[in-house]
Symmetry: C2
């Protein structure tokens, strides 16, 4: 394999819900994470995803109060993911796929740079929390805030969720085929 | 930065629509690509995404005939992405986010291993092509075939799409904020 360490990083990514250490995330790293997000593909290259990284203390504090997630409370940075829910062609939309791919790129970049994160979407979009966060950030009409990613150095040992074995989810040349 | 080559691989990924070289993709590499896909997060850890890698010549030929995409015609392998469109909790579903994150992981693994690919979704799901591919692969009810990823060595120079500059899509501490 040409890049085994790359594949290893993909395999080692997991959601972190513990406390974050009292250590800032340098702007250089944050910018690299945002660039990774923007590098994701998008349906018909519509580039429907936009990002806001928040590290300004007062703003961060307001967003954390809105989010109300204990595992975001100690994060030194939160990245907010915005989407424009527009048509790609005909009646088809791909904005969900677009922002999901961007989020996954960022989760991988966050890990590659030595930080942890977790994909918060339901908490943001089930009610009006995302709309209130968007208002606080000056997000104009036409954009929807759909996800928050805390970013920081872990202060606790991360835990990996239990996953089904390969043979129950992936096959060669036919559904459920034996190798 | 701890893993600059990792971030570089994310930045260099792009959709490839050219011809593929007459070179197989070893099963070891294919398996690593599938494992990368399965390693993606999923809403409430529902693991809604399943994968079928196809490299058996007769089956591959049938799938290519159904797909009808010129840029898939020369690929030595096609990975088919399946989803189970189930509820995660309440009335919320995350299966689109789940398979999009899995696809992005696979696109990155494909690049890391020296291959090219392209995310074919609309062609598969706009009409009944995905359903017919699923039937050919023995996919049972409850699963939907939503994406095809050709995998192979490029025979032509890939082209990158034009993307908006960073400052039009990402900011710090507020929508459209200057750094």
């Amino acid at each position: 394999m040409r890049h085994p360490e790359f594949l290893q990083a993909i395999l080692e990514r997991r959601s972190y819900r513990g406390r974050y250490a009292d250590a800032p995330v340098p702007r250089e790293d944050l910018r690299a994470i945002l660039e990774a997000g923007l590098a994701a593909p998008s349906g018909c290259n519509k580039q429907t995803t936009s990002l806001i990284a928040v590290d300004e203390p007062a703003l961060l504090s307001d967003l954390k109060a809105l989010l109300g997630a204990p595992s975001c409370a100690t994060a030194p940075t939160i990245i907010c993911v915005l989407t424009r829910p527009i048509i790609a062609y005909g009646d088809r939309t791909y904005f969900v796929q677009d922002y999901a791919a961007a989020i996954e790129n960022m989760l991988l970049a966050i890990r590659a740079l030595g930080y942890e994160s977790c994909w918060y979407e339901g908490r943001v979009t089930d009610g009006d929390i995302g709309d209130r966060m968007a208002k606080r950030l000056g997000v104009p009409d036409g954009y929807r805030l759909v996800c928050a990613l805390p970013v920081g150095v872990a202060a606790e040992a991360p835990a990996a969720p239990k996953k089904k074995p390969f043979a129950e989810r992936a096959w060669f040349n036919g559904f459920g085929a034996k190798e």
